[in-house]
Symmetry: C2
Amino acid sequence: MTEMATRELTVARDVLHATVVTIGSALGMPEADARILAESLVEADLRGVHTHGVAALTGYARRLRGGGVNPTPRVRVTHTRGAITIVDADHGLGQIGSQFAMERAIEAARASGIGAAAVRNSSHFGAAAFYAAMALPHDMIGFATTSAGNRIAPIGGRTPVVGNNPFAWAIPAATERPIILDMAQSVVAAGKIGMAARKGEKIPFGWAMDGQGRPTDDPLAGAAGLLVPIGGPKGFGLALIVDILCGALSGAALGRELAKPHQPDTPSQIGHFFMAIDVASFTDVASFKARVDGMIRQVHESEPASPGTPLYVPGEIEWRLRERRVSDGIPLLKSIVADLKALADELGLGASIATAT
Amino acid sequence: MTEMATRELTVARDVLHATVVTIGSALGMPEADARILAESLVEADLRGVHTHGVAALTGYARRLRGGGVNPTPRVRVTHTRGAITIVDADHGLGQIGSQFAMERAIEAARASGIGAAAVRNSSHFGAAAFYAAMALPHDMIGFATTSAGNRIAPIGGRTPVVGNNPFAWAIPAATERPIILDMAQSVVAAGKIGMAARKGEKIPFGWAMDGQGRPTDDPLAGAAGLLVPIGGPKGFGLALIVDILCGALSGAALGRELAKPHQPDTPSQIGHFFMAIDVASFTDVASFKARVDGMIRQVHESEPASPGTPLYVPGEIEWRLRERRVSDGIPLLKSIVADLKALADELGLGASIATAT
C-alpha cells in the first residue's frame, strides 16, 4: 500500500451526498438547496476535482454562519427579455442561483436556439463543469463561467485586477463520453502552488510571480502573489472578458471590486454568466452527435509521440475516474474527512461519514 | 533610418482600400463584395495584423482563379429559428459570408438579447476581430470564431487534428477604446516561426514540435510540424471546442476533414460561428460602458512590475497603431507591395499603389 493510499479514506458516493445534505440542513439551508449543494460538491469529488468538492464545505460553513452567505436565499429573476435572464442570487451559495440560472438559459435555448443568463449577488459556485454539463441531457452545448477573487495582474503589472476566472464548455456526444472543458486562466491551479508550499518544495519558474510581479520559485511568495496566465496576454485577456461577462452584464462586482470575495461576514458580490446552445435548432441532433463522436475518435486515433501514450479529449480523464468512483467509492484525504467530521461535531450532528477501506 | 524602415513603404489607407477593390473586381468579385474584402484586409493592416491584411490577397487570388473560392457567391440563409441562423457561404471568400452572418447575429440579439449564426461552405475569413467588432456600434458584445487547417495535435500526440482556431471577443466602452481580444490557441503565431525560418534563426523550445511530436528549436521542422497550444490541454481544448462550434453546428468540415483548406482548386469547407450579446437587453448601456471604462482604468492604474512599463487591455496596442496609421498611412513591407503590384500586373491593371515616404 502506497503512502498516498494510507492517507486516504474511501467514502461511498451516497454516503458523502447524505452527509453534505445533513450538514447543509444543519447550517440552515432548505433541504432542496442542500441537495443542490451536495450534488455539486460530490460530482466534483467523483470527477477528481477535489478543490471544488466537499473540501470546500468548511469554508462555505464559515460564511453561512458568519453572515457572508445567506442560507435561505430567495433566488429570483429580476429581468428577462427574449432569450436572456438576469438572476439575483440573494447572496446564497453560488450553487443555488447558478443551477436556477442555467435552467433558465436551457429553457430559453429550447425556444430560441440560444439562451443566456447572468447572475448577480452570488458567491463561489463550485466547479463550472457542473452547470455546463446541465445542458447535455437536453442535447445542448453548455457554457458556464464565474468571476473570482483577484489573482492575475495585467501583463507587466503587479496589482492583480482580475480573478483566475474559470469557464466550462460541455458538448454532447452519442456513444462517446461528452466533451467537458473546464479551465481557469493560469498556467497551474493555485492549489498546486499551495501543495508545494505545504511540502516545502520549490515551484518551477513560470507558475507564479511574487507580490512585486517578479518571477519566483518560492511557493510561499507565489501563493501570496500572482498567478501567471496561460499564453501571457491571452490568458489575461480571457480572464478580463469573463470578468465583464459575469460582472458588467449582471451588475455584480467587477475587477478590483471583487478583491475579497471569501470574507466570513461580507457578501461576495461574485457574478456568473451561463449559456446554452440548442443543437436541434441548428441541425439534426443524431448527426451532430455522431460527428462529435467522430471528432473524439480522431483524437484517440491520433498517432502518439511516444508509443502507448493515451490521448484524451477534455473531460475524458474525469469521466473515467467518475465511472470507477461511482462503483468503488470516492477516495478522500484523511484531512478532508477529519474536517467534515469536525464540522458535523460542531453542528451537534452524530453523523459519521467514513467507510474506510 | 533603421534597416526595417528602409524595407517598408507607407501607403495611405484609402489608396490601399481602392487597390484591393480594383484587384477584387478584376478577380471577378461584385464591387460590393470587393469592398467588404478591402475593409477586412485594410482594417487588419491598420491594426498591425499584417498576416491578415493585404498580404493575404495573393493567396486569395490564387484560390479565386483556381476555382477553390467562388468569386460570385450567393450567400444565403439556409435555416433560421428564434435567435439563430445558419448561413451557406456558397464557397466565397470567408469575409463575404461572415459579414452577412454577423449582421444576422446582431439583428437576432436586438430582438432576443443574444443571437448566433453558424456558417458552412466558407473559407479563410481574415481577422476574427473584424466581425466581433461589428457588434460595437450597436452597443453589443461580439464574438467571432473560425476553424482553420490542422496544426495542433492532442496532448502527447503527433497527428494534428484541429486548427490553431482563433476567436475574438469585442466589448464596448464609453470614453475608453473598446476591448478586443483576438487570439489563436498557440504559444506563438505560425508566422513567427516562418519568420525565424526566413532569417535562419533558431526558435525557443516551447514554440513548436516537429512532425514526430518532439520539441524542436529548428524553425523549419516546427513550420512543417505542430504548434504548441497555450496551457497544454487548455489551448488544445479551446481549439477543439471552436472546431465543433464552427464545424458541427453548421455542417462544415470537422477536425481532419479540414486538413487542407487552402488548395487552389478545392473548396475549403471552413466553418464559422458568430455571436452577439445586446447590452441594453441586460442592463443600462451607459452604466455598463462606464463600468467597462472603470475596468480598463483599473488595468492602466495597476502598479507596473518595472517602473514606467505601460499596461494594456486586449486590443489597445492595435487601436493606438490604427489611430496613427489612419492619419500617417500604413507601413507595408516592400515585398508585400511588390506582390500586390505583380498581382495587379498579372490582372492587366495599371493600378500603382505605392506612395513611398
